[in-house]
Symmetry: C2
Subunit: 111 residues, 2 copies
DNA sequence: TTGACATATTCCTATATGGGAATATATTAA
DNA sequence: TTAATATATTCCCATATAGGAATATGTCAA
């Protein structure tokens, strides 16, 4: 079996850094394809392809206005990723605490 | 150009659902490869390959004990994903608020 | 040393990219 | 209608899978 399709879910879709950049850019506000192309250093066909992937997993939504297409982030589609990573928050906080404790123990030893 | 390697960063590594399952399982505590194989419904060679990818991006660490290898999550490597998704938190909260407001406005109209 | 156990690696293959180039489609303006 | 603008799609190709099967490596026990 090959790797899962980029359109299979949000996890696969945001694995591509350019798609994350596009989402970051759209986080400010709605943007047309041309604006995205100008902001990133990517060719227009590539941008359209990335937008298609993002749309496929519901990470963006589109609105037409004349010949322009305006894309917006659908933040809700990012929540599953946020929630999955949150399950490890307790762990890294605990790990940081242990590192801090070790550092303080060292400081106490050699004044 | 092809898709970025699964070992290029944590984003690509966790795009694969079985690797997320492994990380979830390791979140409880350290586990040997055999324990992981028994817990998931995956063949041992596949598990070893997934662990290699996870190790490649620093998402897990290994410790040998006799012929067993014990893997642990390195939660810190998940933080970049958490932080990236957090930049959209404001957006989905805002979107939820608007949905709620609309619902309340509807309720007020038809008693 | 030999065998058993635990884990990793290699080889194979179908599949899905992402970029570049060229082209198609849609919409507005003249 | 025709030209121009805005966006999407298609074709081509090098590359990287993920799983299955077989095998290799490493470690302990007898």
């Amino acid at each position: 079996m090959a790797r899962a399709a980029t359109t299979s879910d949000a996890f696969n879709a945001v694995a591509e850094p350019r798609r994350r950049h596009i989402l970051n850019y759209l986080a400010m506000r709605e943007r047309s394809v041309t604006e995205i192309v100008d902001a990133m250093a990517i060719e227009q066909p590539s941008v359209s392809k990335h937008l298609k992937v993002l749309k496929g997993v519901g990470l963006v939504e589109v609105r037409r206005e004349g010949r322009k297409m305006f894309y917006t982030v659908n933040a809700n589609a990012i929540r599953p990723l946020h929630e999955w990573t949150s399950t490890f928050e307790r762990l890294w906080k605990h790990q940081l605490l242990r590192i801090k404790e070790r550092a303080e123990a060292n400081d106490a030893q050699k004044p």
